[in-house]
Amino acid sequence: MKLFSMALNACLQETKTNLKIKILSDYFKVESNANRVIAFHLLMGESFGRFCLGKWLRLWCADVNGLPEWLINESYESLGDNSETISLCFGQKLDSVIWELSDLCSQMLALKSAPIDQKRDWVVARWQELSTDHIYVFNKLLGGGIRIGASKKTVLKALGHAFDMDPQILEQRLLGRWEPTCDAFNALIDPNDELGQGVSPFPFYLASPLPGHVSDMVTDFQDWQVEPKWDGIRAQLVHRVEGVALWSRGNDLITDQFPEIIEGVSQLPYGVYDGEILAWQNNAPLSFFHLQKRLNRKTISQKLLKDTPCVMLLYDCLESNAQDLREEPLRIRVSKLTHLPPPFYQSKALPIHDTVSLKKYIENARNAMVEGVIIKRLDSAYLSGRVRGHWWKLKVAPLTLDVVIMYVQKGRGIRSGLFTDYTFGVWDGDTLVPIGKAYSGLTNNEIREINGILKGHLTDRFGPVRGVAPCVVLEVAFDDIQPSSRHKSGLALRFPRIHRLRLDKPVSEANTLADARLLCQR
């Protein structure tokens, strides 16, 4: 516990990524086998499943400290981190019992399905034995993300540094099913271990946004191919002797959500395919809103199967009959994608060979239900991550609306204590109706500026959410707008983000519901 807690604190205090890597790498070297796998799991942003709801922890913390529950909740709202709030409520104290991370973890897992009273007694007893810093780590173990400003990549670099391993190999070994056990961890860092591939995918290669003008990057169209950028779910289909699996870009298994695609696999040659899942009807894609219904569901009903028939458009082949093709040029890899059985289709290159036709295509892309284009070098290998120079993406200019902030909520972690989550609306007559919510797009200075203004305009309180009298106009950008029952406006935005802060604009001049409906009917 002590070593991990010290490493976390050191990381929190450090602002330079290189030094964070050094701190974590030194930590991995000295930590015991049993502890470091747990620490690694937590640092990678994974959990051991939530032990209990955060609100239970706050209630127990209130009871044991003789404080009212609402006061702990207020503290939590102010600080934005449950684990930190609870640890701080215990004041500055030292350990009375020294605990190992691994012992805490195994006891926790053993109690996972115990009655809530038993869980409570166990948690409270640990709180009383641990120091303030260690209570924080313990609470993180019970559930909740560790935020120390170190990305997964940073953690993998640190691990690679500690055990003299290539972080990319580590990343690949982690794909698929990773269990936080000592055996799995030892296999992960074993330089000689050749893990069976199983149904693991490869790390995705991602296109980078085109910096500057197309002609700067693409000097000769003969060396490149232009593909439509579908607005679907990027996925890798793994079809090996060992089995079949469908992986999303977030490395989630989505096999069960698309039974019709899995059914069609038997006709497909063994291999690993990269492509896009789309809801498809009458030879054209349906909007992403239809596809979304498939996600986060355990079972897919017959009705859903019928209403949103899905296909997979393939644009790359990374492995064919157990042969890794990732080093081969794109033109060779796509040659494996001919004669596909439905529901698989090739996402073919577009007949675009100059900037004029490219521009024309982009202008019409929204009507063709396409987000833009991906421009790929014909001799590009299938790399990993966002390596620039080989694949570029060019997106259609987003739609925008000027909206008014209606509700705000304080952020978490690095944004704690500041209102950073904004629900916004458009005018319907002289009242505002909510149309969406956004978190991203503002600079720290802009967030601070908005907070200064909001302070004087807060109205009602709905738990952590505060109402705001109309005072700030935001220009929000989004990729699509569709009818929806989620918001009072009857509309929903896809990927809303804050484009610009419009302090120059009076709230009365924000867009109206009628404006938004017009965009929707476009």
């Binding site: 929190l12 205090q13 602002t15 400290n65 404080l67 009212p68 609402w70 006061l71 702990i72 207020e74 503290s75 102010s78 600080l79 934005g80 981190d81 930190e84 709030t85 701080l88 409520c89 004041g91 500055q92 935020r147 400003g149 978490r412 972690g413 690095i414 944004r415 704690s416 204590g417 500041l418 720290n444 302070k455 004087g456």
Partner: protein, 326 residues
């Protein structure tokens, strides 16, 4: 005995205000921070230390009545006494007595010991008007010695890496408390001009023994090794820092309790506060044993609700806070 109007907290029988926010004839001032001691009052009643601070900050020509701690002063039928608040040099709680009832206005206060000023003095009262800046149970100040330990090791590390250390602290109060605790054997120390001005007043009252020089290009070249600079938070990101070359920054404040706050500033955070923490607030209420509490500044609603649930009648004066922030 006390009421609130658009000028601030008012004593009708004595015809004076305490830390008023608009220009009035007679103002009793708890301490020299800018949100309490404002320009434009007819007469300022304050401790000698606070009067000196105000003369430097507001002008030499202000009218002052200087009242030592525990020395009584009469406004009509009302007797006023200033007692130590433990916040910064000269900071006072205002004790207001009409012969039958007593009120105390704490101003800002802390209960921790601070070598640069008198410890807080507790007195009982009927009405307690108190600040509640850090009124949440997450605020428990760490032992000051352990904070200085981490500041010193930060300084040491920076020195051996060839970096100056810049610590941000309010120029009045926090900066001097910091200077009094820093180990000057570790390396050279300098201060920003705003800090230096206030240091002179602390020196006059023998609260600072060694006075670090103001930071200039000359000081830097004389040093020959990386040093430590104490500066107000206002200089963060300003060109004043450019003369330093390579430096690392730390922020000294009670708000640094939150890991997110320190990370957002992208610098080290050190928890030293000149306000009371959760236990400090509760201790003051216990010692004052009032029948009525009014809360001002910060989490006023939260603390008033808490006290009411503890059986102590309390009202939040958040209205005043709103006016102040205008």
């Amino acid at each position: 005995m006390l009421s609130l109007n658009h000028n601030g907290l008012y004593c009708d029988a004595g015809n004076f205000y305490i830390d008023p926010i608009r220009n009035v004839d007679c103002a009793v001032i708890t301490h020299g921070h800018a949100d309490h001691a404002r320009w434009g009052m007819g007469t300022y009643v304050a401790t000698p230390e606070t009067c000196d601070i105000m003369r430097v900050r507001l002008g030499q020509d202000i009218n002052t009545i200087s009242l030592k701690y525990h020395q009584a002063y009469s406004f009509n039928s009302i007797q006023v006494t200033l007692i130590p608040a433990g916040h910064i040099l000269g900071s006072a709680q205002v004790v207001i007595d009409d012969g039958s009832q007593r009120a105390i206005v704490t101003g800002d206060f802390k209960t921790d010991h601070d070598p640069t000023l008198d410890d807080i003095y507790y007195e009982s009262c009927d009405l307690l008007v108190m600040e509640t800046t850090f009124a949440l149970p997450i605020y428990h100040w760490p032992h000051i010695a352990s904070v200085f330990e981490s500041i010193h090791s930060f300084w040491n590390q920076n020195q051996s890496d060839g970096y100056h250390t810049v610590l941000y602290a309010y120029s009045l109060g926090k900066a001097q408390r910091l200077l009094a605790g820093l180990d000057s054997d570790l390396g050279p120390i300098a201060v920003h001009g705003a800090v230096s001005k206030m240091n002179d007043i602390y020196a006059k009252y023998n609260r600072l023994v060694t006075l670090p020089p103001k930071l200039t290009k000359d000081t830097l070249s004389n040093w020959g090794q990386p040093g430590l600079i104490v500066a107000p938070p206002g200089v963060i990101g300003s060109s004043w820092l450019k003369k330093l070359g390579r430096y690392r920054e730390g922020y000294v404040s009670g708000w640094m309790t939150s890991k997110g706050q320190a990370r957002r500033r992208n610098m080290r955070g050190f928890v030293i506060s000149d306000h009371a923490d959760w236990n400090g607030l509760n201790q003051l209420v216990k010692r004052a044993a009032p029948t009525q509490v009014w809360t001002m500044h910060g989490n006023t609603d939260i603390y008033a609700r808490y006290l009411n649930e503890q059986g102590i009648s309390a009202t939040s004066l958040s209205q005043l806070r709103l006016e102040r922030s205008e």
